[in-house]
């Protein structure tokens, strides 16, 4: 476990050599490998197989609400800016139907112990719309009411009132995450997301009053007009709110891929050296404030659920980042949502009209997906271990897959050599472990194991 204080921030030369971008490995293979040849048939087969397990996995439901009232210029999420309420109503009608369709497919004894509303902006929906969705879910799935459940919702503070926080708790949500990004007015203006500190503070207080078990906060560094001093102030303000967990994301400026980002002028962006300094300072600030480093861009208080899970070695990588629900199967609802059931990944159509038509006709609107084979699962296990625990123990892997580690990963181990020489990774007979210096390069290190660019021999899943 890497304590925040031990987090070493690498030199510019190392960052230039290895890069800090690349897939975030919220899944392996990543969504980039999904194939249109995988559709509803494979999805139904995967669900049938997963129902058939002697101990069926609990379910994690993800609902994607793609709508936003206004455009945040940095955003790379799948979203639709609209104020047209009839489009939203149409979407919700389809979503209700989708919930009923999918509810039929999963055995009724499969408890839902994770639920996540993401977006877009889930709080775009009003209280009545949210309540109706939860009631629909309750009707078609067995939603857990246990304290250990993880029912979370992303909150855009600009669309929420403190009074409504209590309503969310009544619906069964027990964890919230606030999208803050930055408190500096100059930065907020440059990315078109203006919200006052006092408003966020009131919402966080309301979340505590309403009994939410966990409050987390998202920040982004590398945004226009940010300076080391301005971001340090944002971090200081956030620490004062004492969230249980915090994400400090690195902004990736890819205007060719995300047209909204063309509204950000490149000359306003902090340079590479400044960005590194910002992350270095933030990590130090958070460490002093008592936060542990969880992995990637995540920090958490030691007694928060993420902090406890990290210590217990029970952390798990999922599409929302890090979670504690290892072994759950994910069912996604709404445009672009990804299900992970059995050996397969299945993504819902991204385009709204097609999604609406498919669901209306009783189809599951699967656009593409991926059925993993045995090698994929062998690789995924290493990537998961590195991303969550910063260490992969060869003996554990060998016990799971009944195969010697080194020969299977001979090529990957060779690829790691330069990173080992630069002190980012230690590779010995027992394990592959990420050093405090290497932590910033988790994606690159995990990427050494990525074989998804090599064509597969067969598209069939093999049984283990």
């Amino acid at each position: 476990m890497v304590a925040t204080a031990e987090l070493e921030v690498p030199s510019l030369a190392l960052i230039e050599r290895y890069g800090i971008t690349g897939p975030r490995f919220t899944s392996y293979p990543t969504a980039l490998s999904f194939d249109e040849a995988v559709g509803e048939t494979q999805f139904l087969e995967a669900i049938a197989r997963s129902n058939d397990a002697l101990i069926p996995a609990p379910l994690a439901l993800y609902l994607h609400i793609p709508f936003c009232r206004s455009l945040c210029y940095y955003c790379g999420c799948h979203k639709k800016v609209t104020r047209n309420l009839s489009v939203v109503q149409q979407y919700l009608t389809a979503m209700h139907k989708e919930i009923a369709l999918k509810g039929e497919l999963f055995d009724s004894d499969r408890v839902v112990n994770q639920l996540h509303f993401g977006g877009g902006t889930p709080t775009y929906l009003n209280a009545g719309q949210r309540k109706a969705l939860i009631e629909c879910l309750n009707k078609h799935f067995d939603l857990s009411s246990a304290d250990e459940r993880d029912f979370s919702i992303e909150i855009d503070p600009r669309t929420m009132t403190p009074a409504e926080m209590h309503g969310l708790a009544k619906l069964g949500f027990n964890r919230v995450s606030f999208g803050i990004q930055d408190f500096d007015p100059a930065v907020q203006k440059a990315v078109n997301r203006e919200q006052r500190y006092s408003e966020v503070e009131a919402l966080v207080r309301a979340a505590r009053d309403a009994g939410f078990q966990s409050v987390s906060v998202d920040l982004i560094y590398g945004l226009p007009n940010q300076t080391t001093a301005s971001f340090a102030k944002t971090v200081e303000q956030v620490v004062a709110l004492r969230p249980d967990a915090m994400s400090v994301f690195n902004y990736a400026h890819l205007p060719d891929r995300f047209p909204a980002q063309r509204l950000i002028s490149t000359e306003d962006l902090p340079d590479a050296a400044t960005r590194i300094q910002i992350f270095r300072d933030s990590a130090e600030q958070l460490g002093k404030a008592g936060y542990d480093y969880i992995g990637m861009d995540h920090f958490a208080l030691p007694d928060s659920y993420l902090g406890l899970a990290k210590r217990a070695g029970k952390l798990h990588r999922c599409f929302q980042g890090y979670a504690t629900g290892a072994g759950n199967e994910t069912v996604g609802f709404g445009v672009s949502a990804i299900s992970h059931v059995g050996d397969g990944y299945f993504q819902v159509r991204k385009d709204l009209p097609h999604y609406l038509t498919d669901i209306e006709h009783g189809k599951l609107a699967v656009a593409r997906g991926y059925v993993t084979d045995r090698d994929d699962r062998r690789i995924a296990s290493v990537i998961q271990a590195l991303m969550c625990h910063a260490v992969c123990r060869k003996a554990h892997w060998e016990a799971e897959f009944k195969l010697p580690f080194d020969p299977f990963f001979a090529g990957e181990i060779k690829k790691l050599r330069p990173l080992v020489d630069d002190g980012l990774v230690i590779e010995d007979a027992k394990e592959i472990s990420v050093t405090p210096l290497g932590v910033a390069f988790l994606r690159t290190i995990a990427g050494c194991f990525d074989r998804s660019h090599i064509p597969r021999k067969t598209q069939c899943s093999s049984n283990v």
Binding site: R49, D52, A53, L54, I55, P56, D107, D109
Partner: protein, 256 residues
Amino acid sequence: MDKARGVSNRHQQESPDIGRLAPKDALRCSGCAVGGLCVAAGSDAATLSRLDEILRTDDSIDGSRIVIRKGDPFNGLIAVRSGCFKSFTIDRDGREQVQGFHFPGELIGLDAIDGKRHRADVIALGSAGLCSLDYSQLLQLSSCSDGLRDQLFRLFSSKLANQNWRTGDYTADERIAAFLLDISERLERRGCNSEDFELLMSRSDIGNYLGLATETVSRVFGRFNTNGYITVKRKRVIIDDRDGLSNLADAVLEQL
């Protein structure tokens, strides 16, 4: 429907077909992997070669194929060669009742000897193989072979002993422990891995058979998994603590 008749129809086929179906040693009683516990156990060489002549083998049965329909005329017995079969009935309200599961070396259709009609549907759980044995030919053959007659009676009687062992006032844990040990013993008898096996039947089949709710089946498997009695990986069961299971199951198994 056609598939369902695949087996019983073959009984009416003419003898040249027999030679075509059993060209290889592996497809004969004399060369069969489960021969040691099937009908051929204890038979001399002459009886074996006669058995080879009367049996019809089908190793290409795929999952979910119904090999016997309830009410089908009884023509002969079926011996399981590989895989697993489930016998079940559907009552007038459409509710299924699982009668049993059949493993290699075991006979299906004994309950139809009296009444001459099959009393249950039999379906393959995954790919499987079986042998059909014409009943009148089998009787004829057994009248001239003490070894075969003896083995047939033994198989008939062990089948009877297994009936209804799941009724009685037992807890879910006891029933499932007994169920697992019963399967493990049956696998051991045919020389298969009895510590690490795949349960091809569904959770709801197991629940139905044992008189338990499906949810209870997964809950008990979950508990056994946590307590260290077994390790469950999807459909695979590894027995880690046979003594622990035996302590639970003894009360049930004593009734067998």
